[in-house]
């Protein structure tokens, strides 16, 4: 049953509402309007021109970038979640209170430096005559082309999202009722099997939300695909900058941005629905 809106409740939800309107709804409306405007003589003019949409959505380069971005972000979500899980599991179940607090603190530290700086420093490590290849040369292997590759992009995506994914997973793991784990052991489920039979299903909501965050962060990321992936072939965010640079095509860039938002909304909705789905009636 829906409760009627009271002044009291409204007062507390007002900041949130204002924020949503000012920084999400208004720009979104403007972006939608912009996607129908026309560029004449390198100037953007208000118009109702669906041509931006038809042109953009019929170009192969757009769909290539779209599929590539979608696959990269999906891979990032899967890889980051898989690498983060043992880490979060260890912190949640193997560490005692004080070391756990330190681990959480260490997970926050990476956010102190700019993401851009961290990605630039990866270039020094990953380039053909960078630190890693120099070390590998000493034991007689390599060099490996790690920069300007999908591997490079993944390294960047991990830098961006790994600590956050670990933290989100950690909080969901810490809220698992420990008696469920004991009950599983007591019902003949061995330690490793309990992780998959009980821990993962019990923490499902948190694990899915963590993967979703990774997907959202990497889907719109511009830095890693450009500086570690080489920017060619482009992802959607690189395509946006290319489009705005070539002939001030802000309306077409708006089309790409809106497609991305629509995709994220669909993915987020699907993920949350999946996360909260219950077994049985």
């Amino acid at each position: 049953m829906r409760k009627s809106i009271t002044l009291y409740g409204l007062t507390f939800s007002l900041p949130m509402l204002v924020w949503q309107v000012m920084f999400f709804l208004a720009p979104l409306v403007f972006l939608t309007a912009l996607s129908f405007w026309t560029v004449r003589n390198f100037r953007v003019e208000p118009d109702f021109n669906p041509g931006n949409w038809t042109k953009m959505l019929s170009r192969g380069v757009f769909w290539d970038a779209y599929v590539r971005t979608l696959l990269l972000s999906t891979a990032a979500a899967v890889v980051t979640s898989a690498l983060a899980f043992p880490c979060a599991y260890g912190i949640a179940f193997k560490l005692s209170e004080t070391p756990r607090r330190w681990a959480v603190f260490l997970m926050v530290i990476p956010f102190f430096t700019s993401y851009l700086v961290r990605v630039y420093s990866w270039q020094i490590f990953l380039s053909d005559n960078g630190i890693i290849n120099a070390l590998l040369a000493k034991i007689g292997i390599g060099p490996f082309g790690m920069l300007n590759s999908v591997f490079g992009i993944m390294v960047g995506y991990l830098t961006l999202s790994f600590p956050l994914v670990v933290l989100l997973q950690l909080f969901s793991l810490m809220f698992i009722d420990r008696t469920l784990i004991e009950a599983a052991h007591n019902l003949r489920c061995s330690r490793l099997r309990t992780v998959f039979e009980v821990v993962v299903p019990a923490a499902k909501v948190g694990l899915v939300i963590a993967a979703l965050f990774c997907f959202i962060l990497t889907f719109g990321d511009f830095v890693s695909p450009l500086y570690l992936g080489g920017g060619d072939p482009p992802t959607l965010s690189i395509l946006i900058t290319d489009t705005t640079k070539s002939g001030q095509q802000w309306p077409r860039a708006a089309v790409i941005a809106l497609t991305m938002i629509a995709t994220l909304l669909a993915v987020a909705f699907a993920a949350v629905t999946y996360a909260y789905r219950e077994r049985g009636r």
Partner: protein, 364 residues
């Protein structure tokens, strides 16, 4: 060790850091009995159960199940299923999947699993909820799911850790009957941990009373109720009056004991040899004392006491009194009996009992 013993605790000690949760416990649990372990919180009863389940390892001593040492056997290799206070049902599985869980872990094949799960769903009368989410069941239904989940592998022993404490009074009594009948039909051993005297005494064949990591008394409910061994047991059971003193005369079956609150005739307890000059503690159960306005006739123990207050316990009331030397006394009486008495707080009243209503604590 008797042939009947299914579980033996042999000098078992459990320490958590500096805290001794269980101290040198020797206990035999018989095949097919309903054993209740009772005590207040922190007495070591749950730790005892968890050691038997394999969820805690004993610090010292040995636990044997069917003659085999199980100290080092992890819980998933023991056959000691437990029912938790919180029930610990898996919320991400349906009722059927919960019950099926341990069969699946053992690699029982699908058709056989279905047959056995169906049998237990039927037996616990939860077949109609088989495909439901466990979160959508009532307390009593969840209880039945937890029992079915633990019993589906047909173990020799079932461990229960205060499983009824979350239920309302009516449902609790109904589940007590379910558990009692189930235990009789299956003929397996139930070890039931509780802090509730009524649960322990109404279901168990034998009751273990624990305090501060030690066993205070083991016996059937009547024995413990009528013949508590120690002061702790007498006070834990609640309605007994405790007198401590010294034997001033011992003739045949009759003893006379001097206490700070007076001198009383007490029946001898065969379990405790006493001669003149020995220290002795005896109890008089609250339902065996008489309350009168006038001094009772000779031949009974009696003392004056002032009324402190009245406590209603269903059909009866417990009158709290204070005797000579600040002695706390309790009398449990029906409301009819109390009508003719002056029970205003502060009023003086006579408390009396026959010598054979008293019981000497052999463990003191």
């Amino acid at each position: 060790m008797t042939d009947q013993a299914l579980v033996v605790f042999d000098g078992v000690v459990k320490r958590f850091g500096n805290f001794n949760a269980v101290e040198r416990m020797d206990l035999e649990i018989r095949k097919g009995e309903f054993l209740a372990i009772m005590g207040s919180s922190g007495c070591g009863k749950t730790t005892t159960l968890r050691m038997l389940a394999g969820l805690e390892a004993p610090t010292e001593g040995e636990i044997r199940l069917a003659g085999k040492r199980i100290n080092d056997l992890p819980t998933w290799r023991r056959d000691t299923p437990m029912v938790w206070q919180s029930l610990a049902l898996f919320p991400f599985l349906t009722v059927r999947e919960n019950v099926e869980f341990s069969l699946r872990m053992r690699g029982v094949e699908k058709a056989e699993r279905k047959k056995r799960v169906d049998k237990w769903l039927e037996r616990m009368q939860i077949t109609e909820f088989a495909e439901r989410n466990v979160a959508h069941l009532s307390g009593g239904q969840r209880q039945r799911v937890a029992l079915a989940r633990s019993l589906v592998t047909e173990p020799k022993i079932l461990l229960l850790d205060e499983p009824l404490s979350a239920l309302d009074a009516h449902l609790k009594v109904r589940m007590q009957t379910v558990l009692s009948n189930l235990q009789k039909e299956l003929g397996i051993t139930f070890v039931y941990v509780t802090h509730s005297q009524s649960e322990a005494f109404s279901m168990a064949d034998r009751v273990v009373i624990m305090s501060r990591g030690r066993i205070e008394q083991i016996g059937n409910p009547q024995e413990i109720y009528r013949a508590p061994r120690t002061r702790f047991v007498a006070e834990f059971l609640g309605s007994s009056n405790v007198f401590a003193g010294m034997v001033s005369a011992a003739n045949g079956d009759a003893l006379r004991i001097v206490t700070p609150s007076g001198e009383f005739d007490v029946a001898r307890n065969p379990a405790k040899a006493l001669i003149k000059g020995d220290k002795a503690t005896f109890v008089v159960s609250g339902d065996r004392v008489q309350l009168t306005n006038e001094k009772p006739a000779g031949g009974v123990n009696g003392m004056e006491a002032s009324v402190v207050g009245e406590e209603f316990v269903g059909a009866t009331a417990v009158i709290h009194l204070e005797g000579a030397d600040g002695l706390e006394l309790k009398a449990q009486k029906s409301h009819d009996e109390l009508e003719r008495l002056n029970l205003m707080p502060g009023a003086t009243i006579w408390v009396s009992w026959r010598a054979d209503a008293s019981h000497i604590l052999p463990g003191e």
